[in-house]
């Protein structure tokens, strides 16, 4: 079953290189197409350079979207990573 899901999150810290890497590694394990949107800028969540290029900072609202057979799981996993990896001091 193919489906589309999306969920928003407000970052608690800046999206630096390591959290961007963790996000892209996790996204790459899903079959679904997964993207991250910050404002008017949408990138492939599987591209670490694209995710870093968002330049997303603390307090910014991001939307994670996925379309494909494991879209629901992909969105849930990436929202969790964004929540944990960008916590201040985390």
């Amino acid at each position: 079953m193919s489906a589309s899901y999306e969920q928003e999150i407000t970052l608690e810290g800046d999206l630096h290189a390591r959290p961007a890497g963790a996000l892209a590694v996790a996204a790459g394990r899903f079959a679904s197409a997964v993207s991250v949107t910050a404002g008017s800028h949408t990138v492939d969540a599987k591209s670490v350079l694209g995710v870093m290029g968002l330049g997303a900072t603390s307090g910014q609202h991001l939307t994670v979207s996925a379309a494909g057979p494991d879209a629901r799981e992909a969105v849930a996993a990436l929202i969790t990573i964004l929540g944990e990896a960008t916590k201040v001091g985390g």
Binding site: A17, R18, A20, G21, A22, A24, V25, A26, A27, G28, R29, K46, S47, V48, L49, G50, G53
Partner: protein, 132 residues
């Protein structure tokens, strides 16, 4: 047991540059991928070493293939010379990519379980990602 991941070899004229790029790529990708620095000549000068590249290929290959990123110029010639003598080099891909960005992108894709072609493609796509 998880399947073998694609390995990465970073070939630079500078030992420090290769080692620094390895460190950065390891940190960004979470440290699960084997990334080997092959930088500098055998006596520590600026340049590339066939022996270091050859050793790097052996260390990086865990059965899923290896992607090799050269920094520029004669690094490419050195890698090609090594591959000519490498025996079965079908699982080894030499890619034309920006060194730092390509190393990071390739390693992240390898960490996600991408095959050798996907890892090479991630490195090559780094050319088209704008920083500004």
């Amino acid at each position: 047991m998880s399947p073998a991941l694609v390995g990465i070899v970073l070939v630079s004229h500078s030992a420090e540059l290769a080692q620094g790029a390895v460190h950065l790529a390891e940190q960004v990708s979470g440290g699960t991928v084997t990334i080997i620095a092959a930088g500098g000549t055998d006596d520590g000068d600026l340049g590339t070493s066939a022996a270091k590249v050859s050793r790097g290929l052996s260390l990086a290959d865990s059965g899923a293939g290896v992607v090799v990123l050269p920094d520029m110029g004669s690094a490419v010639l050195t890698v090609r010379a090594v591959l000519d003598d490498y025996g079965d080099a079908t699982g080894v891909l030499l890619v034309d990519a920006p060194f730092v960005e390509g190393a990071v992108a390739a390693t992240v894709t390898a960490a996600a379980g991408g095959d050798v072609k996907a890892v090479a493609a991630a490195a090559e796509e780094a050319r088209h990602v704008r920083k500004l």
